[in-house]
Symmetry: C2
Subunit: 221 residues, 2 copies
């Protein structure tokens, strides 16, 4: 017989405590922090590139990129003009508050207005771990299929914003936008949503305008 | 200070032992077992639908569908003509050998030639847990991007077959097939590969012919 040890609960509460510490650091620096989550390849890094370029000169952006093994995403964020800190999780399937805390030690928050944390590409595990961010942003994409809210309810239920990326592929993939949005509405009524294409740029201005307003209002609050 | 308890190692070794028991059950029934893994929405269920339809009358297929919350995939497999057992992981990000063992109690292996286990959509965690299958099949898809082997090396390194799905989207997404295949080759030299589209049917016959041969040779061995 295996004896069950309730380790997960304890790890989560330690994580939650550290997440609050991270959030206090963001708060005292007046820096808005976002947690970007998505499936592998939904377009988190592409949206970050568009965001960094689009808000250049208006919003000073820092990046924390979580990746299992490479610095490919941090390199892309840096090339787009952001200050990027790379976290290699060493195989771990999500970021946690400890990893973010160690990244914050390398990031000068006084020189920033916004920090975007790019989580590991995974629609399950990242939803379980608070990082200390103010908003969670889920990047969905059309080729993943319209059943994803129904199949990954934990992720869709817990986020503040859903960005629906790759809308340029609508003519080429089977995707019922109504069915997809109905799933979101059931799990997360009234959640803020954007439809856009990081490839063509369609819908990006509305996202940038919203984000710029969030940063401004956070500074003023 | 937190004391670290090496729980993961023990869980894995219990899992490995159960995986061997599962495999012995498949072996004694002469049933080939496959573990399908992929990102959310890469096309595992679509490939299963094509496989069940394509091998109808030749290969008797049973399905075990792992899902976090719904039976959407099992319903699709059943509609395509397979005997399907649904496992709801209740939030867990992967299948393990215990879950497969409990599903096997509901599946009559003597009436089957092939069992396909559809894992939870996740490019990280499922690679860590053996189920007792004979081959692991990774379903990749073009819209995920060509950097995925580099970013998810654990998954790409451990599989026996890579199926590259949604090749019909090649004109519409940025994807360098050479770069993608170079990543696979470094991590998993000589791994069996298929390029296909479950939507258009292109490349499906080669996959079916290979799979039918695998099932036949397994029975004869």
């Amino acid at each position: 017989m295996t004896k069950r040890i309730p380790v997960v609960e304890k790890i989560l509460s330690v994580n939650d405590r550290l997440a609050l510490e991270n959030q206090a650091r963001f708060d005292s620096a007046g820096v808005l922090a976002l947690n970007f989550m998505a499936s592998p390849g939904a377009g988190k890094t592409a949206l970050i590139e568009q965001t960094v370029k689009g808000l250049q000169g208006q919003v000073r952006i820092g990046m924390i990129n979580g990746d299992i093994a490479t610095s490919l995403d941090a390199d892309r964020a840096q090339a787009a003009g952001a200050t990027a800190i790379q976290i290699n999780t060493g195989g771990d399937c999500h970021l946690d508050a400890v990893m973010v805390q160690s990244a914050l030690a390398q990031l000068d928050l006084t020189a920033l207005d916004l920090v975007i944390i790019e989580n590991v590409g995974n629609l399950v595990c990242p939803a379980e771990f608070k990082l200390g961010t103010h908003r969670s942003v889920l990047v969905a994409s059309l080729p993943e299929g319209d059943d994803k809210p129904y199949k990954y309810p934990g992720m869709y239920r817990g986020v503040d914003v859903v960005v629906i990326n790759k809308i340029d592929l609508l003519p080429y993939v089977p995707f019922r936008m109504d069915f997809f949005k109905k799933g979101i509405e059931v799990l997360n009524p009234g959640v803020t949503q954007f439809e856009l294409s990081c490839r063509t740029g369609e819908g990006i201005p509305a996202w940038l305008a919203w984000l710029e307003k969030q940063v401004r209002e956070f500074k003023e609050s």
